[in-house]
């Protein structure tokens, strides 16, 4: 699971109000390189919960990866951004799409219900009596 998906995922456990954002406890993560795509990132940017994304990078021990406030469209479109390792584009790309969480736990912020991540797959399944009405 990448942080893109973490940004989109909430807990439906009974008793949760928003169930979002899920706290991330990481045991193991890896990086897999991919070509950045500026269009994708510009399109996704307004849909992201920036604070949740930044918090997720912090829980990975990467506090410097993303700035506290989201990059602007112009920053993401800047000439040469795709080739410059330190550019806003590259950093966002890395945070959203290159980091893969392999083992860990997602914790519901409201109920503390734990959802394990095993072999890269989060398990959000709830027993019938646990599901929010």
């Amino acid at each position: 699971m990448r942080l893109l998906t973490h940004n989109m995922l909430a807990s439906n456990a009974r008793g949760a109000s928003t169930g979002y954002p899920l706290k991330l406890q990481v045991v193991k993560w890896t990086t897999k390189e991919a070509e950045p795509n500026a269009d994708f990132l510009r399109g996704m940017l307004p849909k992201l919960d920036w604070a949740a994304l930044v918090a997720a990078t912090h829980s990975l021990g990467l506090p410097g990866l993303l700035p506290e406030s989201p990059p602007t469209d112009a920053e993401l479109s800047a000439d040469g951004a795709a080739d410059d390792e330190g550019s806003a584009l590259r950093r966002l790309h890395r945070a959203l799409l290159e980091i893969h969480i392999e083992e860990g736990t997602l914790v519901c912020p409201d109920t503390e219900r734990c959802f394990p991540i095993s072999k890269g797959v989060p398990n959000m399944l709830l027993h019938e009596d646990e599901v929010r009405n």
């Binding site: 991919a34 070509e35 950045p36 849909k47 072999k119």
Partner: protein, 285 residues
């Protein structure tokens, strides 16, 4: 041909039993070992992971992938940002989609869900064996994603559990839940459709398998009432079942009394099939 083309055809098209479709075939489909074009564009059967509790790629899986292949040019033009499979099983379908659209690179990202824990692991292994990636989640339909992914998904593909069975069988864990569809095979389908409508973007497309027994025309009607047009991309008859691959998209004219006359018929099949539908549609309007 432009990707928007198929979206120009409005409303549910035709009485399914009389419909002439893009590709109507009899007999068993090729088991993934046919033309090289197919192997280049789809997952390779020998690389698809398996598990005794996970649905193996079967006639329905092949039909869905063939339908996606027939729509590949449109999909490439659509440039979907997010694609999603619900009920990914072995991973054959989502892997094939990712391979088909490989040239879109990081511009297209993939998600896949299944309620069966063995299935999500199997899908993960199949994706890895082909060097493509999707974020795989064990969940009921799209539970947990419905709020934040609202209106963001451009392509949804589903090969649902569609076999008519006693209701109880749906509750079974493991392999039975791959096919058990309850009354008319519609019980899970009828939970999937509203969930998909929540996730699809305005320009989004849904590709779904249905069986004759599922009453595909009724499915198209229900979707039409919610503003979706549809068409049969592929019909395939095997010894046991008649399979349809249905494609749905949002259409301003659906569910209203807007005129269809202004729309130019795109192909003979869609033109022919618009006629029988019109009467049905007016009955409902």
């Amino acid at each position: 041909m432009a990707g928007g083309d198929s979206a120009a055809v409005s409303a549910v098209e035709g009485r399914l039993s009389e419909l002439s479709t893009n590709s109507e075939e009899k007999g068993l489909p090729r088991r993934g070992k046919s033309s090289s074009g197919r192997t280049l564009n789809t997952a390779q059967i020998q690389l698809v992971a398996s598990h005794p509790e996970v649905y193996e790629p079967c006639d329905d899986s092949f039909a869905l992938v063939d339908a996606l292949l027939s729509d590949k040019a449109q999909l490439l033009t659509l440039k979907p940002r997010l694609c999603m499979e619900i009920g990914c099983g072995s991973g054959y379908v989502i892997t094939s989609l990712a391979i088909m659209l490989r040239q879109l690179g990081s511009g297209t990202q993939y998600l896949a869900t299944d309620i069966n824990q063995h299935a999500v692991e199997t899908t993960q292994a199949t994706l890895e064996a082909h060097g493509v990636h999707a974020d795989v989640i064990a969940t009921d339909i799209v539970s947990g994603l419905e709020k934040r992914l609202h209106g963001l998904v451009d392509v949804v593909v589903v090969n649902p559990p569609y076999v008519p069975t006693p209701e109880e069988e749906i509750e079974c864990n493991g392999i039975a839940s791959s096919w058990a569809g309850g009354l008319n095979g519609r019980q899970v389908i009828d939970r999937i459709l509203p969930a998909v409508r929540e996730l699809l973007s305005e320009r989004g497309w849904l590709y779904m398998i249905a069986l004759e027994d599922n009453d595909p025309l009724d499915i198209c009607h229900l979707m039409n009432e919610k503003g979706y047009a549809s068409r049969v991309l592929l019909k395939r008859c095997t010894e046991e079942e008649s399979l349809y691959v249905l494609k749905f998209w949002q259409d301003a004219a659906s569910g209203t009394n807007a005129s269809h006359a202004a729309r130019s018929p795109r192909s003979e099949s869609s033109w022919l099939s618009q006629l029988p539908f019109k009467s049905l549609w007016h009955k409902n309007a």
